[in-house]
Amino acid sequence: MENYLILNTLNYPILSLLLIVPAVGALVAMFLRGETLLKFWGLAVTLVTALISLPLWTRFDQTTAKYQFVELRHWFPALDLDFVVGVDGISVLLVLLTTLVMPLCVLCSWTYIKTRWKEFIIVTLLMETAMLGVFVSLNTVLFWIFWEGMLVPMYLIIAIWGGARKDYASIKFFLYTFCGSIFLLVAIVSMYIKTGTFFIPDLMAHDFGFSYQVWIFLACALGFAIKMPMFPFHTWLPAAHVEAPVAGSVILASILLKMGGYGFLRFCLPMAPAATVYFVPLLLVMSLISIVVGGYLALGQSDIKKLIAYSSVGHMGFVTLGIFLLNDAGIKGAMLQMINHGVTTGALFILIGIIYERTHSREIADNSKLGMFMPIYVTFLGIFSLSSLAFPGTNSFVGEFLVLFGAFDKYPLVGAVSILGAILAAAYMLRLMQKMVWDDSDGHAHHGDDHGDGHGDEGGHTLFDCNVREFVQLAFLTVFVFWIGLHPTPLLDMMDSSIAHLLHQIEAGSVMPEAVHHGESHALLNNAGTWIKNLF
């Protein structure tokens, strides 16, 4: 077991602290009174967590693919269950993304959430613990506990503070993800019975037979594809996004959706490499459909949140596409795309929250011609919209470029189809931007008329520009847009050795003797490449 681990050398248990601080913060919040105090408490706890997580960036050893900052404690000896946490190049970035986005979730709810702040802070902090737990767990059961435990706070966030159809959306979210992940549990238990361990690196190293891998892959992939969400399991996402409060949307978009991709990289690829290669055509086709269908659906939306939600389906299609290209550029691009989507789409949802607080409508038509009233706001809207459509110089460009590069390198036709998604993204984002910033098609600057009551000349409209709090959030994310856009090397360096190791695992695993003995599957393995080429 020690071959894969580098024990924590810091003089404090950094990963445990990350898990404990928000949970304890939630516990303390139960005894606090007063809305303002609770708001600042929530902000303080998330900021402290973010600060604690920073050494993960500075002290991370980029030269090794081993798990770092590892802590190992006995937890549940009856089943040989240990509490093992650690990060590698794949998870460390997602951990940092989580800790950095969470303070923004509190900030963007500052005036948006009007009731039950105590409960809100409690569930948000519990959510943070659960999400971080998913990324740092090196034990399948621990992973599943956090993965599933996350559903409850997220369900509550949608069900309590959600919009008009929150009942429908929250139940749909819960049932969809629950159905998917419960098969993951069966896979986890079944792998334990086969190998006698819950320890993820041991499972990765174990040589499962091909037919067994197929089942493992399917059971895991269902859960992850739903979480991603991949077409045709994406229908919960628009419902949940539209009804969730702004913090809920940000958490969903920035972090929750990444767990699907993370799951693929952590479970499916290394544990079932032969099955992965076998299923590559299927997953690539599903990704392409996600990209194109997501883009087309986004094109037709009149609700801003729905538009962004469908655009997420398309963006996540790029992520799965990158992952299942199974080459260096593809997986790196997918990882980068996950981070980018977290930054950009998170920011877009914050922007929607800001405008919703002012106009109480998410319809594009009700929010037009903002350029006249809110110059700072539309500047940010412009930056993040361009980032979302992968404009060169912004973060998404790098990720999408890497994925496309990987695609053209391996299957040119796949690359050609996915280009369509990039074009669609430009179409719907530019349309959104044009309508919101300049459009005057309904013939009058209605905001002044609606709210001004004749005082329009005194600026009696409600469309105040961003205040300092909103500016800080957006400016913070803007830094990442340009940093990753212009200089992504540090991020790519972080994941370099882990991804090389992952590719090595797949290569070693997919030529295993048993798969060769398995006549039928062997033929299909050979056909994996030609199959996809014949499709187009």
Partner: protein, 472 residues
């Protein structure tokens, strides 16, 4: 020797006796409840002290071992919680309060005897002691039409029928093996099960009475009506304690039938599947919470049965753990139901609306309880399901686990519906529910217990493992 190992039973007998003498006089509800609670708490302490004792008495029909003592602790603790939960007995006729508590104590006593019985006729006697007390108690209900009478009659009729079938099965077993002692049957029956179809039928017939207690398909028909018709506090007893006893006896009988996968296993597997599917799908459309919990308990019986039928250390320990968790989670749900029905009426989804405003503690208790029953980590319900699945996969019951898992997904819908009702806004503003200190304490206890045992299950699980090791 008899004094020390038999102390828990003697203590509970004395409790019942004291309550019997109190029925002769007139006492206020507060006094009755205080006396019951103190005496049960004493019994609980004594039962705890008896953990780890061993013994065989009354011509070897009564066995004290780790398994029986663990279940006795659970039963007495459950009885204590039931007394504590129904503090004012609002659902019961005023003049019957003392009798009510007495009969509950007697029923629990019967279950205690049941835990230690290792001979067929003793098992039957203990079972009847526990059942007869309940037959009397179920129609004790104040001012709710005639539902409770119907419930009482159904409970008796089904109880009598299943006991009859069990006796019939016992006659077969006696005919086949010429003994009624489980220890001797353990040696003879596994061979017979493998060769004689009659032995399979006999074993299943003997188990019928316990299917009935556990509300297991096909003896589940009474559950929804009895849950609905009996008073809220009575239901909290019927729904939990007899099921604990039934699980123990099913474990003993599966040990008798043999640990290899036999035809008995497949019959039980079919029953488990039917129980889960029938229970979960029927629960989806219920509006009365007690009816819903009845169907959910039918489904839970199916999960427990999966653990039992694996007949190995892991699966049976999982079943024991699961039923302990089930007891806690169900009592938590009934605690909420009792407290939002001040007149002892039945509770529907509409009554749950706005609960989080009226009483945050009750809403949180309900939330934890239903998420526990749905098997969401980190609750006791999750560890229970996880252990059961691990045990079943260990024995290779892949199809069974996949069916169970799909059922868990179906079940999450109606559990979620309860949580949603508690946290959504009320149609009209209702008064806040003021809980006395004891009730607050109890709510907190349920929340902490369900989550804490879920996060740190080691101690209870090792107790369960030690307990089932006496069977192997």
């Amino acid at each position: 020797m008899l004094n020390t190992v038999f102390m828990p039973e003697i203590a509970l007998m004395l409790t019942a006796l004291v309550l019997f003498f109190m029925t002769l006089g007139k006492f206020r509800t507060g006094t009755v409840q205080a006396v019951s609670l103190v005496l049960t708490a004493l019994t609980l302490v004594i039962t705890f002290a008896s953990l780890g004792t061993q013994g065989l008495m009354f011509y070897d029909v009564y066995q004290i071992d780790a398994l029986s003592q663990l279940f006795k602790v659970v039963i007495v603790f459950g009885l204590f919680l039931v007394f504590f939960l129904g503090r004012d007995l609002v659902g019961i006729e005023e003049k019957l309060h003392t009798e009510y508590n007495m009969f509950l104590a007697i029923s629990a006593l019967g279950l205690m005897f049941l835990s230690s019985s290792v001979e067929l006729l003793t098992i039957l006697l203990s079972l009847e002691i526990s059942s007869y007390a309940l037959y009397v108690v179920i129609p004790f209900r104040r001012g709710q039409g005639r539902l409770h009478v119907e419930a009482g009659i159904k409970y008796i009729l089904f109880g009598a029928a299943s006991t009859g079938l069990t006796l019939y099965g016992m006659s077969y077993i006696f005919g086949l093996a010429h003994t009624t002692y489980l220890s001797e049957l353990t040696e003879k029956l596994p061979v017979l099960v493998a060769t004689q179809p009659l032995a399979v039928i006999a074993i299943i017939l003997v188990m019928t009475a316990f299917f009935y207690k556990l509300a297991m398909f096909p003896m589940h028909f009474w559950a929804p009506d009895v849950y609905q018709g009996a008073a809220n506090e009575t239901t909290s007893f019927v729904a939990t304690l007899p099921k604990v006893g039934a699980v123990l006896l099913l474990l003993r009988f599966i040990a008798v039938a043999g640990f290899d996968i036999s035809q008995v296993t497949w019959v039980l597997a079919a029953i488990a599947v039917m129980s889960m599917v029938f229970g979960n799908f029927s629960a989806l459309v219920q509006t009365d919470l007690k009816r819903l919990l009845a169907y959910s308990s039918i489904a839970h019986a199916g999960y427990v049965m999966i653990g039992i039928l694996t007949a190995d250390a892991m699966g049976m320990a999982a079943a024991v753990f699961y039923v302990i968790g089930y007891l806690l989670m169900n009592l938590a749900a009934f605690y909420v139901i009792y407290n939002i029905a001040p007149k002892g009426q039945n509770v529907t989804f509409d009554d749950l609306k706005g609960l989080s405003r009226r009483s945050p503690l009750l809403a949180l208790t309900l939330l934890v309880s239903v998420f526990g029953m749905a098997g969401i980590p980190p609750t006791i319900g999750f560890i229970g399901k996880f252990m059961i699945f691990t045990g079943a996969l260990h024995k290779g019951f892949y199809a069974l686990v996949i069916i169970a898992v799909m059922n868990a997904a179906v079940a999450s819908y109606y559990y979620l519906k309860m949580a949603r009702a508690a946290y959504c806004a009320a149609d009209d503003e209702q008064d806040a529910i003021v809980l006395p200190f004891g009730a607050k304490l109890m709510g907190t206890f349920f929340i902490v217990a369900i989550i804490l045992i879920g996060a740190l299950p080691q101690s209870i699980l090792s107790a369960a493992k030690e307990a089932v090791s006496t069977l192997l």
